[in-house]
Amino acid sequence: MAQALANLKIVEIGELASAPYAAKLMADMGAEVIKIERPGAGDRARDRGPFPGGAAHREKSGLYLYLNTNKLGVTLDIARPEGFALLERLVADADVLVHNVAPPEMDRVGLNFDRLHQINPRLVMTSITPYGLTGPWRDLRAEELTVWSAGGVCVLNGAGLDHPELPPLKTFGNQSGFQGGVHGAVATMGAILAQVRDGEGQHVDVSCQEAIASQLELTFEYWPYMKVIANRLGKKPIQPLEAMECKDGWIYVCCVEEHQWKAFVGLMGNPAWAGEELFRDRLQRGENWEALKIFLEEWVSQQTVMDLYQKAQSRRIPFAPVSTMGDLLDSPHLKARGFFVEIAQPAAGTHLYPGAPLKFGATPWAIRRPAPTLGQHNAEIFGGRLGLDAARLAELTRAGVI
C-alpha cells in the first residue's frame, strides 16, 4: 500500500521538538524529509537524551532518535553564503520548508519567505516559533518552560489549596514544542492542499504560545465570560476526579455522571457513609470533597490497581491507572494494537519507541529508516542529488559549511 504523503518533498531546519515533530508526522506518513543541522553540534535534541547507559552521546539521544525517524540528515551552515546557496537549491525542488529558526537568527541569515518564494513559487514555508513572527515578543529568548508558561498551562497545574506555597508546575517533557509541531503540521497540510489546488505556495506563521492558549479547556473563557481567574488553587466543582493510592500504585478515581458514582458505591459494597446528605450529588461531593476523600482513600488503599481498574470499567466507570512507563510497555491492550515499534540504529542499538499515533486503513504509517547520524546523507544529497563533486564536498566540509 502506498503511503499518504509519498509524493511530498520537505526540507526541515529544526531543533528540539517543534519543527522536527511536524516533519516527523509527515515523514512517518511517507514524505521525504531532508533535515538540515548545524555542522559540528547538530540539533540540540542530540544533547538531551535519554541516552542508553546514561552517558551523553550525540548519536544516542532518545529524544532526537524519536523525533527524526524516516529523515535524511545533512549538515549545512546556512549563515554562510555558500551554505545558503545550497539551501536554495534544496528548496527549489521542495514542497515544504518547515523550520524553527528563531526570528533574530532568521533575520541574521536572511531566511525569509520572499527570497525563497522567488526561487520556488510552489513552496510552502512554515515557521514555527515560540511567539510568532510579528509582535513585540517576536525576538524573545524562549525555552520550553517559558513558552508553556506563557501559553497559560502552568498556572493550572500543581499543588492546590492544601499546599498553596508550592509554585505552578510544568508538565513533563517538551509539550510546547510538540503542540507547536502538531499544530504546525495541521497548518502546513492545509497550505499544501491549497498549493495543490492553486499551484502556489505561501508562508505559514505558527505561534507555539497561541497553539497552547487555544487548548486551555474551559478555563480561558472564565475570564471573558465571568471575570473569574482559573488557577490551580481553585476547587474542582465536581468530585471524585483524583489520583488515589492503591496497595501497588496509583489509580485515577473518576465519576462524572451520577450513574457512574452509583455504580462505584455499589462496587465498594454500598458503605453507609455513601448515603450521607453531604455526598448527595456531584456538586455536593465537590463541595464536601475533604470529607469524602477520607472515606475513599481508606477504601482505595486496600485495592490493587489493575483489579480495581477492570472492576470499575466492567461497571462502566471510567477509572484509569496512573500508568508508569513499565505499565505502558507491558499493557496487553497496547501490545495487541502493536503500538510500540522496534527501531535499530547503529550507535544507540535497538529499542522500542512509540509507534503510529493513528491507524490508517489505506495508507500505512511506517518506519522506513531510523533517524540519521549527523551529516549521514551529505554525500547522497549534496553529491548525488545536487551534483557537487568529491573535491567540492571535501572543500565545503573543510570550511565547515557542511
Binding site: A213, W223, Y353, L358
Partner: protein, 415 residues
Amino acid sequence: MARPPLDGIRVADFTWVWAGPYCTLQLAHLGADVIRIETKTRPCVTRMLPPWPGMKPGGLNRSGYFNQYSQGKRSITLNFKDPAAHEVARKLIARSDVVINNFAHGVMDRMGFGYDDVRKIKSDVIMISLTGYGDTGPYADYIAYGPAQVPLSGLSALTGYRGWPPMHAGFSYADPNGGVHGAFAILAALYHRGKTGQGQYIDMSQWECAMGVLAEGLLEYTMNGREPERIGNEDPWMAPHGIYRCRDRPGQVMGLTVDQFVAIAAADDAEFKRMAGAIGRPELGGDPCYATLAARKAHESDLDVIVAGWTAGRTAVEAAAILQAAGVAAAVVADNKFLSEEDPQLKAREYFVYKEHPEVGTLQHCGIPWKMSRTATAVRAAAPCIGQHTDEVLGQVLGYGAEEIAKLRAQGALD
C-alpha cells in the same frame, strides 16, 4: 486573499465534548464547512457547563466552553429515534468529504453509520473515529473521560514535584492533543484522496497520541529500564530553571490571594552570565559554585533561593522584562486574565476573536494559532446556537423544501 485551504470541503461532524470538537475546529479554521450534528434530546455536555456570561446558567447557547470550540461551525439538530433523521444524516454524508465522531467504540456502528455503512453512501469518504482506547485491542470497549486520560497516558507519572506523588497536567490534555492529531490525519487523507481518489477509515486512540508526546519518558524506560523521577520545574540540562514567586498579587481564587510567578530558564553558561548581571549579581557568573552547568546543578537549591529573592521584589511583568532585555528566557506565568487583558503579544497579533453571538453578545474567544500569507485565515462566525442552521443546511445543502422540513419538525425528527 485567496480562498481558505479547505473551502468547499464539507465535514459531517458527529462529535461532542472536547476531543472531537477540537479536531473539527482545526478544519473550520482552515475553511471547511463543518456541520455539527446535534440533538436537543441529549445536547453536548459542554453546552451545559460554565462559564456563562454574568455567571447565569440558562439555555444551551451560553457556555463559553462550547462557544470556544465550535467557532466557525454550523449546527443542525437530528433526533435519531426517528428514522427520518437517519435519512437526513445519510443525505448529509452523501454530500460530505469527511465523517468524524468521538463516541465510544461501536456507537456509530449501532447507529448505522459505521464505516461500512458510510462508504456505501459515499465511496471516497474519509472517516475518523476519535476514541480513548482505539477500535481494537482488549480494552476497546473501555470508557474514557478526559481527566482520566492524562494519568492513563503516563504523563502523570512523569509530572510532579520532586519526591511527591504523580500529578496531573492541569487540564484534559489528551483530548485536544488527540483532536489535533486527528485533524492532521484527516488532512493527510485528503491529500491522498486528491492524488488517488481513494478514501479511507482512520482509527485514532487518544491514549496513543498522548504517548507520542511523552516519548522521552518512555525511552528512559526502554533504553535503561528506569522509571524517570519526577523533577518538578527543573531540567536535566539547564539551571536555573524554575517558576519563581513575584511581588504582585493581582486576584483572588476561592478567597485566597493569587500570587504571580515568573518562569526562568538559563540554557547555558553565557545566558546565566547575562542573567547574573541582570539581577544585579554579576559576580555569580564567575563564581565557581555557579559558573558551569555542573556547578549550578550541584548548587541548584542555593541558586533558586538567590533567584527567588530577586523575583520576590518585583512584579512578574517587571522581572520578565528585565531578564528578557538581557537576553534571558523568561516569561510571566500567564493565567486567563493575563492572556485576556495584559499579554501584549497576543493582542498585537490579533489572536483573539470577537464575533457577535445571538445570546452572549460579542465576547472574547481564542483564535487561530497560525497565520497564512496567501489564503484567508479568519474565524468566520461565532459558535452556533443549537440547531441554528437546521433549515439552512436541509434546504440549501440537502435540497429539502420548506414543507418537508416543517413536516420533519412536526414529527420530532429535528429535535
